[in-house]
């Protein structure tokens, strides 16, 4: 593991030109990631950035880290296998609200309960951008889209509350409307030793609603710090999270003050312990010898 405090943010920007729509919130997210990674100081080749499919999931390609733009909804499992096989890497996972909480929603509770040292960033734009404007699981009830001509009939999910209820050790939210805050929570999430989650309210300028644009965010956002929230207070975090979709809280909802051992750390320990008892690979069949 190398740590260089001197890598400028530009060092993390790749040559691939983003093909997001002009004004898309994801531009802000990738900028914040450059800044956070610069602050962390790990060189790009020690970082792996895994995503699913969606506009937001294009993000790894715009960094100089190793990237894997996998399939829709499966970034978390792929990232976990990678991290377990290579615990020294800094592993980032990112994607959209649909990628993460619709098709990929089944993987979230399990990634959390395993508690690998990963950072998961969701660009929550309350819509399906890449496929051109369908409902997403965080779309507000009643929203009219190409798949809900007469308004959606279902309530949105609450990603913050769900992730908290699954036991994530670090849960935060931000928006590109607050670039320093966004970069700061991403950095803090990376530094948290265990599974960390950042929900970014990242506007879709093409298919998103008015009240979801940067301008509206600027008016609505309230930092949790300014409200005096103590991120060690789990029950309070649950309560604050219930306001998702109504209030736009930014900052850290919850940071486990006593982070438990990560899965990857436990695995290393187990490997170290059991390694002594191994028969050489070449003689592995001897255990089937009946005497």
């Amino acid at each position: 593991m190398t740590a260089l405090a001197t890598l400028p943010p530009a060092q993390f920007k790749s040559e691939l030109k983003p093909i997001w729509c002009p004004g898309c919130g994801d531009y802000g997210v990738v900028q914040a990631i450059y800044r956070a990674l610069s602050a962390i100081g790990r060189p790009p080749h020690e970082i792996a950035f895994i995503s699913g499919i969606g506009c937001s999931s294009r993000i790894p390609g715009y960094t100089t880290a190793y990237g894997f733009n996998t399939v829709h909804g499966r970034a978390l499992p792929i990232a976990q296998g990678l991290k377990l096989a290579n615990p020294d890497l800094l592993v980032l996972v990112a994607g959209g609200d649909g990628d993460g909480f619709s098709i990929g929603g089944g993987h979230v509770p399990h990634a959390i309960r395993r508690n690998l040292d990963l950072t998961y960033i969701v660009m929550d734009n309350q819509v399906y951008g890449l496929t051109k404007g369908q409902l997403s699981p965080t779309s507000p009830k009643g929203l009219k889209t190409v798949t809900s001509a007469y308004g959606s009939l279902e309530s949105p999910i609450n990603p913050l509350l769900q992730v908290l209820s699954c036991g994530a050790g670090f849960v935060a939210q931000s928006t590109p409307a607050d670039m320093p805050g966004l970069a700061a929570v991403i950095e803090e999430a990376i530094r948290y030793p265990g599974f960390s989650f950042v929900n970014v309210q990242s506007p879709c300028v093409t298919f998103g609603e008015e009240d979801q644009q940067v301008k509206a965010h600027k008016g609505r956002m309230q930092s949790l710090a300014s409200k005096g929230h103590d991120p060690a207070d789990y029950l309070k975090a649950l309560e604050l999270a219930t306001h998702y979709g109504v209030e736009l809280y930014t900052g850290v909802f919850y940071r486990n003050p006593n982070p438990p051992a990560t899965y990857d750390a436990q695995v290393r320990e187990r490997q170290a312990e059991l390694q002594k008892t191994a028969v050489p690979r070449e003689r592995i069949l001897e255990m089937f010898q009946k005497g």
């Binding site: 190793y66 996998t70 499992p77 792929i78 290579n86 509770p109 395993r114 059991l274």
Partner: protein
């Protein structure tokens, strides 16, 4: 006797499977070739259970046909196993006397067994051990007597098996064993049942297909397994969950099969050898990510232990009906190697081969095992692992890392592959079509080039020396082709054919796909007729061979749905009929 099949059935509590296990363990340590299959009712506990143990002085290829010795602890349970415990007129039938059934009334329909013995199994056990629980040891005693198997070895086995449960239980079982032995001595069978001594009394490896597959993965350098439990493949994960940590690896029980293969793909992207294992329903779920591994050119080994389908189907029964899926499940144009082991020992080799192929060609490889091989216990001669080659993927040289191009064109279509952590090797892997550098592209020209690369890199595989096993009379115009566990049946058919002087040759493919066309062509050159035998409704291999080859008109499909064992004798009969037909049509 050089070869005998013993089949037993009873209720869950009767310990019938445990008797079989003691028997085969003893046989293995005495140097016999042996094979054991188990079968259970649908209950998790307390239902009917059965096992078949085949013992032989010669190498075995299948779990055999009709029973030589049938042991029914009660008739109701025995009959539930139908053709899995088939008796014929050569069978010696032993059954629990307290069933009250008269020997002349045993419920075997038209079958007139060679010999029938009603034995007071429960009573003898109770008398000797003080409890009926030791019935399995009594049965062992009987078999030890009638077959002439070493008492010492079986006794040692009983001591090992019950050692942990305390002296009282050990002694009870030993007394029951002794009682069985004495009963057998006092009631010799009319039928000769004594086994000849094994050719070489060397101790054998004894294990099943799933465990040896897992051990092979470790041998081949597998460092990661991600999977989800499913019958009949769970033991692969369970074995690795005990062992892989010792080798610096890890096992993750995923939330589902998609996550299982996902974690394995992640580990492979990370530069480590990785595997997942499942059965049909799980394979169906893994389809999408399998395609991702193909386009991202990531090595990966995927085991499918086939069971009866479609859907949940027959979870505990063997079938060979997932071959189409293995070859063709992907959306898009995909060429994905499929290997099938033909025995427990071959499961070891197949798994090592699968890892080598996956690494060499940077591709997912499917190992298509089946419930029969995966869960049957079988003796194997020790394998000299020092003769085996273990390959690793082609990694970029320092010079290549100076201006790294992940999917760079190369004469063999294989591009050196970096992994996170490697300085200079960073690239974007993706499920989307991409240029040589990994940049996304929707260009038809790029797509055509990349499809060519992905297909052509696998061409050398068709001439791989391990692609098939061929046996029999090379000049025969009569051929038999079979794969997986039925490959073993084919080899037994060959024995029968040779014994009858019928000229036959046999091909058992281990590489099912891509079809090694030249190998088949030269095998089929002078063939007029023959069979492709499969345990499936459709005869999937036969159809796949037709896709790629012009088969002789007389080579036809012979197949049957799963859970209906295919017998060497029936295949032989069919072959004889075919060859007679062919001769007639020629004359």
């Amino acid at each position: 006797m050089r070869d005998i099949v013993i089949g037993m059935a009873g209720s869950g509590g009767d310990g019938i499977v445990s008797a079989g296990e003691s028997l085969i363990a003893a046989a293995a340590s005495l140097g016999f070739h042996a094979m054991m299959t188990k079968s259970f009712g649908p209950q998790i506990r307390g239902g009917e259970s059965s096992c078949r143990v085949r013992l032989s002085t010669r190498e075995l290829h299948s779990s055999g046909g009709a029973l030589g010795v049938a042991i029914a602890l009660n008739w109701e349970d025995f009959l539930k196993f139908g053709s899995e415990l088939r008796c014929d007129d050569a069978t010696v039938v032993i059954y629990e006397a307290k069933t009250g059934v008269l020997p002349e009334h045993i419920p075997l329909g038209n079958i007139k067994p060679r010999e029938i013995m009603a034995v007071p199994l429960a009573e003898l056990t109770k008398q000797s051990a003080g409890t009926e629980k030791a019935k399995n040891s009594l049965v062992l005693g009987l078999l030890s007597g009638w077959l002439g198997l070493s008492q010492d070895t079986l006794r040692k086995g009983i001591q090992r098996r019950y050692g942990k449960k305390g002296e009282e239980i050990v002694n009870g079982n030993l007394r029951a064993f002794e009682a069985g032995r004495q009963y057998a001595d006092a009631h010799p069978s009319q039928t000769p049942l004594r086994l000849d001594a094994p050719a070489a009394a060397t101790t054998k490896i004894l294990t099943d297909g799933n465990d040896i597959t897992a051990a092979a993965a470790i041998f081949a350098g597998c460092q990661f397994f991600g999977g989800y439990p499913i019958t009949p493949s769970s033991e692969v994960m369970q074995f690795l969950g005990k062992e892989i940590w010792k080798y610096g690896g890890a096992v993750l029980q995923a939330e589902d099969e998609i996550a299982g293969i996902g974690t394995a793909v992640g580990a492979s992207f990370g530069g480590k050898k990785a595997m997942t294992a499942t059965s049909g329903p799980g394979m169906s779920l893994k389809t999408e990510i399998l395609g991702l591994a193909t386009i991202a050119e990531l090595p990966l080994v995927v085991v499918n232990v086939q069971r009866g389908g479609p859907s949940t189907g027959l979870p505990t029964k063997p079938e060979q009906s997932d071959l189409y899926q293995a070859c063709f499940s992907a959306h898009g144009d995909v060429l994905r190697p499929v290997l099938a082991p033909t025995s427990v020992a071959d499961s070891f080799h197949c798994t090592v081969d699968a890892f080598n192929i996956a690494e060499r060609y940077q591709t997912p490889v499917i190992i298509l095992s089946d419930q029969e091989i995966a869960q049957r216990k079988e003796t194997c001669d020790p394998i000299d692992t020092s003769k085996l080659v273990v390959e690793d993927r082609k990694r970029p040289t320092p010079e290549q890392l100076e201006k790294y191009t992940r999917f760079a064109a190369s004469p063999d279509g294989i591009s050196p592959i970096s992994h996170p952590g490697m300085k200079g090797g960073a690239y974007l892997a993706a499920g989307i079509e991409h240029t040589e550098s990994g940049a996304p592209s929707a260009s038809g020209a790029v797509h055509a080039r990349m499809n060519d690369k992905r297909f052509n890199k696998l061409l050398p595989l068709e001439s791989w020396s391990g692609a098939v096993t061929v046996a029999g009379d090379a000049g025969a115009d009569l051929a038999l082709i079979a794969w997986g566990s039925i490959g073993g049946v084919a080899l037994e058919v060959l024995d029968l054919a040779q014994a009858e002087g019928l000229r036959l040759k046999v091909l058992v493919p281990r590489l099912l796909y891509p079809v090694p066309k030249e190998v088949y062509r030269s095998f089929l050159r002078n063939v007029n007729s023959g069979l492709v035998v499969e345990q499936s409704h459709q005869g999937q291999l036969y159809k796949i061979l037709r896709m790629e080859l012009d088969l002789p008109k007389g080579l036809v499909s012979y197949c049957r749905s799963g859970a209906n064992p295919i017998q060497p004798s029936e295949v032989l009969a069919k072959l004889k009929a075919l060859s007679a037909d062919a001769r007639r049509s020629l004359s």
